[in-house]
């Protein structure tokens, strides 16, 4: 069937793939964005109940890409992060005022990010959305990459970007292996209403079965105070909690949230996600690059998964746009190598940190409990170390791309 020629073909229209398409399309590149779900399904609240803690660095990427203005009214700033342990509340404390006036990050609902992204790319003439469509095969043997869709349509592009998530088709088709493991924990995600305001404070409560995070959201239109819950627990326990009726579930929520927000209740909807750590051995293959979850999946303990993806996007879009402005082939092996070299180090460091954090906290063994109390206590006492951790979490460190620095492409 008909073959269409694009500069870049992106497989996967999740948040990463769509953001990438919006940035490239905004710079004038012709982009095919292939997604197997119908766009309407991705926009509804029944599809993704998560929120994302957008770091300062990711916000700069979204701002430069012209996407932030839409999201800003719905973004709740995080002015303070309090880390608590089962036994000793509030003993690690990150205050944004220590590193400047900007918030540590902002909590935004994924469904709103998706909605504004789709609005944006629908208005971008250079981006062709192909959805619902599944990619059947990938051929990178020639001087153009060729994708064949399940319905027989063919697409040609200089480069294929795999933004198709943790079970990436592009990754497998390019013969790229992964390393990693599944965690014994799953996450329960829901939205919680509460009596008292959260004062823009995020709380991460380390419980023996896994971290329980309360992330501040903007008030609902009727003034209801809201927080997004990421409740990590043992995979055997999660199905039981998922089935609980409202009063029983709310009692569990209240016991984990403590008293500082007053009475709490569930707004929902309730979702569950299996957790894993996975890292692609390579991010690149001839005429192929992987971004975001297709390249790396980490534990959500630090709320950094998508933020790492945003850093992939910032760098790869810069390299591709600069190259396109010279008219040269975007599938250049040296360009791909530069992308991989720069991003792998950063992502591996983060994957390791989040894995160690989870292992350190998700247990009840006294010596480790002691060690982590000492560790966190030490961080809290040394302002220099604390600022270091905060800068990392804010995504301000390692801003090696123009978009990451808030410049234009």
């Amino acid at each position: 069937m008909s073959l269409r020629r694009f500069d870049v073909a992106i497989v996967g229209g999740g948040i990463a793939g769509t953001t990438f398409a919006a940035i490239l399309g905004g710079a004038g590149l012709t982009v095919a964005l292939i997604e197997r779900q119908p766009p309407a399904a991705l926009k509804g609240s029944a599809y993704d109940g998560r929120t994302t803690a957008i770091t300062f660095g990711s916000r700069k990427v979204l701002e430069a890409a012209g996407l932030w203005a839409d999201l800003a009214p719905h973004a709740c700033p995080i002015d303070d992060i309090r880390v608590a342990d089962d036994a000793s509340p509030l003993f690690l404390h990150f205050d944004s005022r220590e590193v400047g006036d900007d918030p540590l990050g902002s909590i935004v609902e994924n469904r709103l990010i998706r909605k504004s992204l789709y609005k944006r790319i629908s208005a971008t003439a250079t981006v062709t959305q192909i959805a619902p469509a599944t990619v059947a095969s990938l051929d990178t043997s020639g001087s153009l990459a060729r994708l064949t869709l399940a319905d027989g349509r063919e697409i040609a592009a200089d480069i294929v970007v795999g933004a198709d998530g943790r079970d990436s088709f592009v990754r497998a088709a390019a013969g790229i292996e992964t390393i990693g493991w599944a965690y014994m924990q799953h996450a329960i995600v829901t939205i919680m209403g509460h009596e008292l305001p959260h004062d823009n404070v995020a709380v991460e409560n380390f419980l023996p079965a896994g971290p329980f995070a309360m992330l501040p959201m903007t008030d609902a239109s009727d003034g209801t105070h809201r927080s997004s819950i990421v409740w990590t627990d043992h995979m055997d326990a999660v199905p039981l909690y998922m089935k609980l009726d409202l009063p029983a579930f709310e009692a569990e929520l209240q016991s984990r949230a403590g008293e500082w927000l007053g009475r709490v209740w569930e707004i929902g909807p309730r979702f569950t996600y299996p957790l894993q750590l996975r890292h692609a051995k390579r991010y690149i293959a001839p005429r192929v690059a992987l971004i975001a979850d297709a390249a790396h999946v980490i534990h959500p303990i630090a709320g950094q998964g998508l933020n790492l993806g945003m850093r992939d996007i910032a760098l790869l879009s810069e390299l591709l746009v600069d190259r396109r402005r010279t008219g040269l082939d975007l599938g250049d092996p040296m360009l791909l190598k530069r992308y991989e070299d720069a991003r792998r180090m950063d992502n591996i460091a983060f994957s390791a940190t989040t894995d160690i954090l989870d292992r350190l906290f998700s247990n009840d063994i006294p010596p480790i409990k002691l060690a982590r109390r000492m560790g966190l206590g030490a961080v809290n006492r040394v302002p220099f170390l604390r600022r270091f951790f905060m800068r990392r979490a804010m995504g301000a460190a390692g801003a090696l791309s123009r978009l990451g620095r808030g410049e234009r492409l």
Binding site: D7, A27, G28, L29, R325, G327, L328
Partner: protein, 249 residues
């Protein structure tokens, strides 16, 4: 149509490039140095053309509506990107093998370029004219420089832009241009260049004035061995340089 061998093209020189033309498009093949050079070359060309014709260099097709001629196009390493930037490109080379390789590649990349076996003389004789004419790394290989420049000049449409690149005749280029590139790094085959044919910027500028062109820009091209990269340098034209000139009449 059978093209006649052009008289300004030195047969022995062409023979040298023919031997190398099979792997034009392999970035790590024998033309690796050209692939390394290409981003810098194209940046220079794009910036000059955008400036001269008042185009936005950040757009992806700043050459829309312009005609361009690439003389001595080889396998099309510059012609293809020019077409992608929006120009309608004619590209000539006396080496039929290189043109065949270029056609094959452009077809595979779905990029349109009018490739022709021939020389600037053939096109000049036919009275063709272009908004942009490129002669990159050519002039140091031609037998009669003045004759070549006269043919080039007639190919540029009134108000058009001529861009040349070549090697300066300095002690530095003797050591770096030939010694390092040909012998030490094995970038290009030994015997590719003859230092005595290298052209000083002042000589080139004089030649351009004779054909009624005004020099618009002179920029050096410098290789940084530590970074293994080329970059443009306004103040160092000791080895490689670009010159742009506009047609006055």
């Amino acid at each position: 149509m059978v093209m006649t061998a052009a008289k300004t093209v030195d047969a022995a020189e062409i023979e040298k490039f023919s031997r190398m033309s099979a792997d034009w498009w392999d970035p790590s093949g024998p033309f690796r140095p050209l692939h390394r050079l290409n981003p810098v070359r194209l940046t220079y060309i794009k910036d000059r053309v955008a400036e001269h014709f008042g185009r936005d260099g950040r757009s992806i097709a700043p050459f829309g509506g312009l005609t361009a001629l690439d003389i001595g196009c080889g396998g099309g390493l510059v012609a293809e990107p020019l077409a992608r930037l929006g120009a309608s490109v004619t590209a000539v080379d006396a080496d039929a093998v290189a043109i065949a390789a270029a056609r094959l590649h452009a077809a595979g990349r779905e990029i349109e370029v009018d490739y022709r076996v021939g020389s600037s003389d053939d096109l000049a004789a036919a009275g063709s004219q272009f908004d942009v004419v490129l002669a990159l790394e050519i002039i140091e290989h031609v037998a009669d420089r003045d004759e070549f420049l006269a043919a080039l000049g007639s190919l540029v449409a009134p108000g058009g832009l001529l861009i040349l690149s070549t090697l300066n005749r300095t002690l530095k280029s003797l050591v770096l241009g030939i010694g390092v590139a040909e012998h030490l790094l094995r970038w290009v085959e030994p015997g590719t260049h003859d230092w005595r044919r290298f052209v000083k910027p002042s000589e080139l500028a004089r030649g351009l004035r004779v054909i009624d062109f005004a020099v618009a820009d002179l920029t050096g091209l410098v290789f940084d061995p530590l970074k293994n990269e080329f970059h443009l340098a306004a103040d160092d034209v000791g080895v490689n340089y670009f010159m742009s000139a506009t047609r006055l009449s």
